[in-house]
Amino acid sequence: MTNAAFPQARIVPLRMLKPGTAERLLNMLAGIAGIRRMMIHGPGLPKTVPYGPARGSPNPHSDRTAIRVADAEIALRVQVGTVILEVEDASVIEEIRSLCDDFFVEFPYLLQVGKFMKTTPTLVDYARYGPDADGSLIGLTDPRKGESPVILRTEQ
């Protein structure tokens, strides 16, 4: 659950990122002090074929791979389309902007400022995490998937 006091931003590249590029981008962002929460968003890459006559058969996909960000390993389940960030204050967004300006050279990107994360727990969150859930974790992962967020410990 987000706190309205913290600004949020969203990085929208004009192309969907390959795992390698996403890894470099996230490692660059992990080096910035002042990012509270970060979410990777994009269309899903299921492990099995979800529809049609081949439903249930394995779905090998080269982009569904594990990437290493700071000290943690993240298993990508989506093609990285956007990165949503919650930061300590507006100056961090400017820092992100200046780093992203140098990062995205082959195709453009947008840095949008607004509200992009959940502001209150939904019924599904309540059913999954109960009434005493840790507010800082809600909205970061899909409550139906049973995966927990990854905590990055950087040197700063």
Partner: protein, 254 residues
Amino acid sequence: MAYKPQYGPGTSIVAENRRKQMNPGQKLEKVRSVTDEDIVLILGHRAPGSAYPTAHPPLAEQQEVNCPMRKLVKPTEGAKAGDRVRYIQFADSMFNAPSQPYQRTYTEMYRFRGIDPGTLSGRQIVECRERDLEKYAKDLIETEMFDPALVGIRGATVHGHSLRLAEDGMMFDMLQRNVLGEDGIVKYVKNQIGEPLDRAVAVGKPMDEKWLKAHTTIFHSLVGTAYRDDAEYVEYVQRIHSLRTKYGFMPKEE
């Protein structure tokens, strides 16, 4: 004076391409070549080289009823042999893909016989007798109506036509049926429903941006030709819209 179809309005290159694809009198440019066996592999309906399974005995072996329509309409090869009805489905990216669902249906209706197309916003399916399908699919894949990166042959799980492209310019595909190789050639590694193929099927290099812009049939204000730049098209659509709206009031044109 004999009726001459106009196929569609518009003065832009997009309108011109739409007319070109629809007009059966215009030969579509052959851009790539794919073997018959490759088509059969991508379609995934039967094993290459195997006989066509049938849904009914060949027409020649049947006692046909005495029907004037049957005398008038000659059956297609597939119908004559009693083939099953099978399909091919395409998903076309909005980023200047050379054909688009509605466009495909119009084109196929003008050019092919014995088909049953189904049109949706992001995908278009066409059903017909199996051996006719293979012939039509070859036409659809080899000519300028296809681009290896921006058109996907997807029987199921078609999501991707309206998404941003991947870094390498490929349209998003959840099942990654086609991959862009190191050599710059796109290969199908799964058939249209997502079952892995025994061998990869090459469908050629993705076309460049300039070619796509010159051959697309979709208006796109950011990457291609803007709709509002084609005044004739806008006027035509506004006229249709106006007449449809006024229809209930018995419109009379001034």
